[in-house]
Symmetry: C2
Subunit: 644 residues, 2 copies
């Protein structure tokens, strides 16, 4: 008998060789039908694999990321089986699960796959799925594996094998398909109820453009047709909310070949949003005791050697400018400049916490292929700040920053978020991380404690810290459920010492401050991209580039319309008049398309009574009101930053 | 007889060979005593030089720049005479008049001049001046001149001679001193009544660091002791108001070797001022129909070839960054990016004037030796904007910009200013200026007309235009009378075509807009430097980094002080509490030094009555007031941007 510890801590005994699926069945048949894989002692296993020793066990279903990934990886194998049946002689490279589904890279020889083949492939996959084929795991001696793929003439799998050791090689088979694969897989193909092949793309072998171009086939599958339908609907909605499409339609941003890839130029409408975000940040930070600074966008090489950016972060920086025998770099982060401001005047413990914020612009090198709309850019604007504090002040300061994040989430209607505590990896000390094992432990514990004490839900991830200390990465989800990496909150025990930053403590001794790096709204680029999707371009009043459009029914009322608009402007409401010679119906339709929150229609009656007919974007007529009444209402909505 | 036309247009006849001084004497002896030189047919002459032909004449006195420069140049010769008498064997290079006085560069051989020698030299100069020596002009054949200086062994003057042609060589002598000199000079040394030698510096021969270091001796002289006293007092005041000194004392800005020369970092107090200036600009521009944009700080080489910056302005740019086979440049102006924003959406005549403003940061290369505090820097922040308009709209738009300048001058108490209309130079078309002779004429006339129609006083200067069109340079004078070059207002007929910018006219044809480049506050760097001098660091309330300091008489009233300060902050008043354990006298003295406009002293009485004892910076006690009363008053002062 073996002892199995379940997630609730209870321990049950089973026959040696029982599988996770067997254990699930012993609990309930219904549960067993949902089990896709299992976490055994921290490793993900096939649910059907025999367990021979005492173990902790967590059954994995669709609701677990590891369950979902196993499902999608098995779907990639099913897709490969279908491809092999229709394209005999195809050779496969790798087929991993990805964010929304899976892909498989393949060499089709002299054959071509086109969009037209996808329906037939889907049909074949459905056929194969209905065969209930089991995914069978088989351990293989390396020699046998090499022989198998040599006989098959498959140079791709032989390449993979060359990096594997004897004893760690497994084959997986289902139906007529066999693959070199580490697994795990779902019990059988019948779990896969709904299938959609989404696209075909080219991908260089091993991502190297010097290598052969392989065919990459993308798909997504679900345990039910309903889930697939919902997913496709979400994609449809995401397409409508595509920040690149809305960004152009609403005059938010533009790019230009002569300026350079990944360099966003903010058009007047986008700049309104940037300035409103910055105003919010400024107000919030002023109330929280921050001061503001302005620093240049370049600095000399010596600064980035001191900061550690050049040894640890050089790949993400623009190349230097050489002048008067010196190398100048565009800043990729604001911190070193802020450290210099800290150092410019002597500090005592009475000056701490010293919090300085900047509307900072940094430049980072991203490969051309990685650039994507506002999401991946090379010039990043952000509301950045650094807090210099004592160890005793750290908990309060770090918690206050987290609270600031939550306050912002509320304002922007962000209901779902996850904080990821990114830790260092001890084997990369001195390579990717500053070589200070004790300080890493200490600060990671401090951050973990703050999160625990604040009851903030978080997950821990190894090997994703900044080079100077642990950090919290914040993932948020848009209204249609898409995930965005937003912002970070970082601890830094290293740069304070590198820059010889000091404060004189109460005991008159010089101490090094701890530094918190934070940018709760992330970069303006990514955040506005998120907001375009979140609001589908229908910004709440306080953020809307044009808040009110006054529509005269005919030219006769143009002067009154202008008078109304001027009055609105005097109350700091962003207002425009539609002075075109168009019918009122067209004016309304066009203004709807521009997603302006309020339309004020004015004609004879409105003019005589000093009133306006209010229309709300997407909702239509909201009655006649006096101009003053409308203004008072709008001003209060704007001031409160109401969601709608 | 010759006919002499006077500035008032009247014509008088004189004997041939009469000098300007003779003519002056014929008008009045008093006038003659003031004549330093004369403008004869547009050229500056010695007042004593015989006039042999009909001519137009303007007598030059201390009130004319040319008169003053002649006075100082003659003073340089007087100084040289004194130096030669005390340092026999000295060789002289050049001795021009400068902004406030004159200098002479000299090679003292193996001798050294020190600050201690200055008093003796001044004494000697006074002695020589009292001798009433005449400045005598003598035309010299080149061969004789070369022989003279060869015999003297003076390689410096021989070097000067090598660039002069026979027939244009003159010597000037006074007392025992003779110099190769183009002149002109004042009649005699007795005009020089007050003398101050100000400093000794080193200067490479011909400004080239590979050459020998010469000694540069600076001095300043005046026609009366009173004027010298006033000048020295102004210098003393300027020293107190030195923006570098105040900038450090008040925590306005800092620089750092690791960041780089000429790269200002704005400390929290300086950033408050930047943000207040930007807020003023934003409000003013919003009311004037500008929109705002945000653009990156770099662009590709192709953009700057199109804009003409690389051919015409390359020396002022930072060197490129080379990446992915492309060259990227830091922007030295915002215009090309703004043109790209203009071009991003199609425009019709209805969209013009299109006015876009940016809080822009540009980078310009200035030689290390030219850098000076906030006055000459390499990173420049500015409230920049570009106006795209039709020819018909030009006058109104250009005038509106000039009016905006005048509005700002009023706010900042700038009472004296001069506008300089900078024109192109026809012989530099295609080299320094875009080669479009007709467009130069046309736009120069347009600008001149606007200035004339607006009754704005201006002077015209040749060969100082931007490479793309004429401009107005604005010179302002600080409270202590020092001159600052502030801002420019430029016309651009060239870049619109280079960037293929268009709008569809009423006749449905594509037209190129005219562009106005403007930055009325100049750069934040220079303007804040000016303001530090203008206000001697005592900023008016709306600009003051800390507006109010609350001073509790003892710790017992600390809580009340904090409550008062919090209340002020809620009304957006920048307030701090002096919570140190110091006597109230010391708190007041320290706060005075920081030039905080208001101090609120609080003790028992104030706390019990919810009041504050108000002290005004530099003025002392202003009575007891209720907190609300004080707030209402301060808020209204801030809102109105009152000068004091």
């Amino acid at each position: 008998m073996i002892k199995i510890t379940l997630p609730d801590g209870s321990v049950r005994e089973f026959e040696k060789g029982t599988s996770a699926l067997g254990i699930a069945k012993s609990i309930s048949e219904g549960l067993a039908r949902k089990v896709l894989a299992a976490n055994i002692n921290g490793q993900v296993w096939d649910a059907t694999r025999p367990i021979n020793d005492d173990a902790s066990l967590k059954l994995l279903t669709w609701d677990d990321n590891d369950g979902k990934n196993t499902f999608w990886h098995s779907s990639a194998h099913l897709m490969a089986e279908a491809v092999e049946s229709m394209f005999p002689g195809v050779k496969f490279w790798v087929g991993p699960p990805v964010e929304n589904g899976f892909y498989y890279d393949m060499d089709l020889g002299d054959k071509k796959m086109s969009e037209e083949d996808l329906a037939a492939l889907e049909k074949k996959m459905n056929e194969l799925a209905r065969k209930n084929s089991e995914y069978l795991r088989k351990e293989m001696p390396k020699a046998d594996a090499v022989k198998y793929f040599t006989d098959k003439g498959d140079e791709y799998k032989l390449d993979l094998l060359s990096n594997l050791n004897d004893g760690e090689i497994t084959f997986y088979s289902q139906g007529n398909f066999t693959d070199l694969c580490r697994g795990p897989h779902i019990p059988n193909t019948s779990f896969i109820k709904a299938i959609k092949l989404t696209s075909i793309a080219g991908a260089y072998w091993k991502g190297d453009e010097k290598n052969k171009m392989l065919t990459r086939l993308y798909g997504v599958t679900f345990p039910s047709q309903k889930q697939l339908d919902e997913h496709l609907q979400m994609l449809e909605e995401a397409k409508k909310r595509d920040h690149r499409k809305l960004g152009k339609e609403l005059g938010i941003y533009t790019m230009d070949d002569d300026v350079g890839q990944g360099l966003i130029m903010w058009m007047p409408n986008g700049t309104v949003i940037i300035e409103e975000l910055e105003k919010l940040a400024k107000e919030t930070e002023q109330a929280a005791g921050y001061k503001r600074v302005v620093t240049p966008h370049i600095a000399k090489e010596s600064m980035y050697i001191t900061s550690g950016h050049l040894p640890y972060y050089a790949d993400s920086m623009y190349p230097p400018m050489e002048m008067e025998g010196e190398k100048y770099y565009l800043k990729s982060m604001n911190c070193p400049h802020h450290h210099k401001i800290y150092a410019a005047e002597p500090k005592s413990y009475r000056d701490l916490p010293y919090r300085i914020a900047e509307y900072g612009t940094v430049y980072r090198y991203e490969q051309s292929g990685e650039l994507f709309g506002l999401m991946r850019v090379r010039c990043l604007h952000m509301n950045d700040a650094h807090i210099y504090c004592t160890k005793e002040q750290f908990n309060d300061e770090f918690r206050a920053v987290n609270d600031m994040y939550l306050k912002y989430f509320k304002i922007f209607g962000i209901e779902k978020y996850v904080m990821r505590l990114s830790l260092h990896s001890p084997d990369k000390l001195g390579i990717k991380y500053v070589n200070e094992p004790e300080l890493w432990k200490e600060t990671e514990t401090m951050v973990r404690n703050v999160l625990t004490e604040s009851n903030i839900p978080f997950v821990e991830v190894k090997d994703e810290a900044a080079f100077y200390g642990p950090k919290i990465d914040v993932q948020i989800y848009s209204a249609i459920g898409r995930e965005f990496t937003l912002a970070t909150n970082q601890v830094d025990f290293s740069q304070g010492r590198s820059f010889k930053l000091e404060y004189i403590g109460q005991d008159n001794k010089a101490e090094t401050p701890l530094i918190i790096h934070r940018a709760p709204l992330g970069t303006h680029e990514r955040f506005i991209g998120f907001l375009l999707e979140q609001y589908a371009g229908k910004f709440p009043l306080w953020l809307a580039p044009v808040q009110v459009k006054v529509l005269p029914i005919s030219d006769k009322f143009l002067d009154y319309a202008k008078a109304v608009s001027d009055k609105l402007k005097k109350s700091d409401i962003r207002s425009e008049v539609d002075d075109r010679h168009e019918k009122i119906g067209k004016k309304i339709r066009d203004t709807e398309l521009l997603k302006v929150p309020y339309m004020l229609v004015v004609g004879e009656k409105e003019m005589n009574e000093n009133k306006v007919s209010v229309r709300i974007q997407g909702k239509g007529d909201a009655g006649v009101r006096s101009v003053d009444e409308f203004i008072a209402d709008a001003v209060s909505q704007i001031k409160e930053r109401k969601a709608e």
